[in-house]
């Protein structure tokens, strides 16, 4: 059998199936956003669904909200993970337990995480009861579904920190001790070793963490629906609302879905570029 054919046969059931479905899904989202596959009327190639959305305040609010949550969550998660990774580079007593605990949230499903957080911060939750008990507050404070989305950001950071931690610690562990020793030997102190060796050698992992967390947080439905402010929508919750029984506006949902993918793509590009620029600047300083 010729080699090319053999490889195509090998890839078909796996990659072939995945790509078929994914391309079909992507095509369907784009096509529906431009009026095709209209379940409520005639199929018509049109920009009207986009125009309709552009005049909709809820759409812009959701876009802004998802962007805000994603940027803050990704930045915070990496900002917390990075120092932890550097700190835990050399094993010390308890460091193994510590990194296991940092990775633990990865094992908790998002819905459960959201439920657990609500239990802790609710009106009669642990935080309120504890702070009243030690006398910091005189009465319970309402923290659930806060309007700044701190609960969602907290959940995102908590849930996504392990991902950043794993990617970054892989990159940091891949820096040979000898290379750091060489830098030190040539006169680089702690700070210089960080900005001239560690930082440039972890840029890729940092970009990957930021991008994956950004995409995850931008597409969030669960945390928004359970712990988010009731007045806000994320792009995903808004999309499901449009698609759901009360609207059944699949084409509107498609516009929101495509917007979410564009947001993910743009966010990824911007974050990747920013990290590159910052790393270059740090090296120069």
């Amino acid at each position: 059998m010729p080699n090319g054919l053999r490889i195509i046969l090998l890839l078909t059931p796996g990659l072939g199936l995945v790509m078929t479905l994914m391309i079909w899904v992507l095509y369907r989202a784009f096509a529906q956003s431009f009026g095709l596959y209209n379940f409520n009327g005639d199929d018509l190639l049109t920009l009207s669904h986009w125009q309709g959305m552009f005049q909709n305040r809820r759409y812009w609010n959701a876009l802004e909200w998802s962007g805000y949550i994603a940027v803050v969550s990704a930045t915070l998660a990496v900002a917390v993970a990075y120092p932890l990774v550097i700190w835990l580079r050399r094993p010390f007593k308890g460091s193994f337990l510590l990194s296991a605990l940092i990775k633990a949230p990865y094992f908790v499903p998002g819905l459960v995480a959201a439920f657990l957080l609500i239990n802790v911060i609710s009106y009669h939750g642990f935080v309120n009861e504890f702070l009243i008990w030690i006398g910091v507050w005189d009465q319970p404070v309402r923290m659930q579904n806060d309007k700044n989305g701190y609960a969602i950001i907290g959940l995102q950071v908590w849930k996504q920190l392990p991902l950043a931690f794993l990617l970054l610690s892989g990159a940091v562990a891949a820096i040979p001790d000898n290379v750091l020793h060489a830098a030190q030997d040539l006169g680089a102190g702690t700070w210089d070793r960080f900005r001239k060796v560690v930082l440039p050698m972890t840029v890729t992992a940092m970009q990957a963490s930021l991008i994956l967390i950004f995409i995850g947080a931008a597409g969030d439905f669960t945390f928004q629906a359970v712990a988010g402010p009731t007045r806000e929508n994320s792009l995903a919750t808004l999309m499901v609302t449009y698609q759901g029984a009360s609207y059944s506006d699949w084409n509107g949902a498609a516009v929101i879905g495509v917007t979410l993918m564009v947001l993910s793509l743009l966010g990824s590009i911007v974050f990747a570029a920013l990290v590159q620029i910052v790393a270059k600047l740090m090296e120069r300083v």
Binding site: A182, L186, K196, V197
Partner: protein, 344 residues
């Protein structure tokens, strides 16, 4: 150019003693080798000189100034690593310029140092390549150039040739030595390869079990080993034990002349190539391997085996009885203990 003084250095890792009571001094511009089997403490000692490790006891002086507590970045040393340890994200030029930039050398000066070194190493054409695009030999040269670019007084080599193939090794070895002569830096060279140590060094320090067991000029170390360990570690050695009576030791092969008065029990050692055909000793050839320039012969008698290396144009058959002799001044009396106290 500085000299190096190491005084009574001891290094413990928990209960394990990697170095105990090591003292040595190197005068400026000399090339010395720390030689020993793996685990003997030679790399530990090098790391103490560089400052990556702090000795539990003792002190390190460079140019008469104590540097024991000085951080590596503030020492006048540069290390050439076994794995090269090049910065993978920087091109060849930037790798070499790293040190001078770090030490705030003026831009023009940095530039001229880098280009001089790169052309000296034959790397001009590769200056914009990343390290992983280079061959092992080229990476090794970049590592050397990078270390030399800071114009250190003391260059530390950590088995720099062990990842190169045999031919390249010989070439880089002589390059290192001629650079050292030309630039005049003091060099401390760690290796487990005795041939490398003998060929390159002004002085060899042989370590075993965390102690210096013998030091001296390569010739002395080779021909006048003080212990069985030294004799065995450096080259091949024939050893005999027994009493010495009126300047000779009785061996299964016959009487071996020793330059010594009577001694009750002692051990003597001689090198395979010291023997010459014809003489008072004899044995049966158990194997003879032609090696080109010499013939590698094993002789047995009464269950003991010795090794002779004689000129390659001789011809010996297995089973043949051969008589040979060893010049008296090539037979040395050694201590038959390996406590490593020989350097006292």
């Amino acid at each position: 150019m500085p000299d190096l003084d190491i005084r009574n250095v001891e290094m413990r890792f928990g209960g394990f003693c990697a170095l105990s009571d090591v003292s040595l001094s190197v005068s400026s511009g000399k090339f010395i080798t720390l030689l020993g089997p793996s685990g003997c403490g030679k790399t530990t000692l090098l790391n103490i000189i560089a400052g990556f490790l702090h000795p539990t006891q003792g002190s390190v002086l460079i140019n008469g100034k104590g540097v024991t507590s000085l951080r590596p970045e503030n020492r006048d040393t540069a290390m050439c690593f076994q794995s090269y340890a090049l910065f993978p994200h920087l091109n060849v030029h930037d790798n070499v310029a790293f040190g001078p930039r770090q030490k705030r050398v003026a831009r023009a000066e940095t530039q001229s140092r880098v280009s001089t070194l790169l052309s000296q190493m034959g790397l001009d054409l590769h200056s914009t390549k990343l390290p992983n695009a280079l061959s092992g030999g080229q990476q090794q040269r970049v590592a050397l150039a990078r270390a030399l670019a800071v114009e250190p007084g003391l260059v530390l080599f950590d088995e720099p040739l062990s990842n190169l193939d045999a031919k390249l090794r010989d070439q880089v070895r002589s390059e290192i030595r001629s650079l050292q002569r030309e630039l005049g830096f003091t060099a401390v060279y760690v290796t487990h390869d005795q041939a490398e140590a003998l060929a390159m060094s002004d002085e060899v320090f042989l370590l075993n079990g965390g102690r210096i067991v013998q030091s001296g000029k390569p010739r002395d170390i080779y021909f006048k080993p003080k212990t069985r360990f030294v004799a065995d570690f450096i080259g091949a050695a024939n050893l005999h034990s027994g009493p010495i009576n009126s300047g000779a030791m009785t061996t299964p092969f016959g009487p071996l002349s020793v330059d010594s008065p009577n001694l009750s029990m002692s051990t003597v050692c001689w090198r395979p190539e010291s023997a010459a055909l014809g003489g008072p000793l004899s044995g049966v050839v158990s194997s003879a391997a032609f090696q080109g320039s010499y013939l590698d012969v094993f002789l047995t008698k009464d269950g003991e085996t010795i090794r002779l290396q004689i000129s390659g144009d001789q011809h010996l058959e297995v089973g043949q009885t051969v008589s040979f002799g060893v010049p008296r001044d090539r037979v040395v009396i050694i201590e038959d203990t390996d406590t490593g106290q020989a350097n006292a």
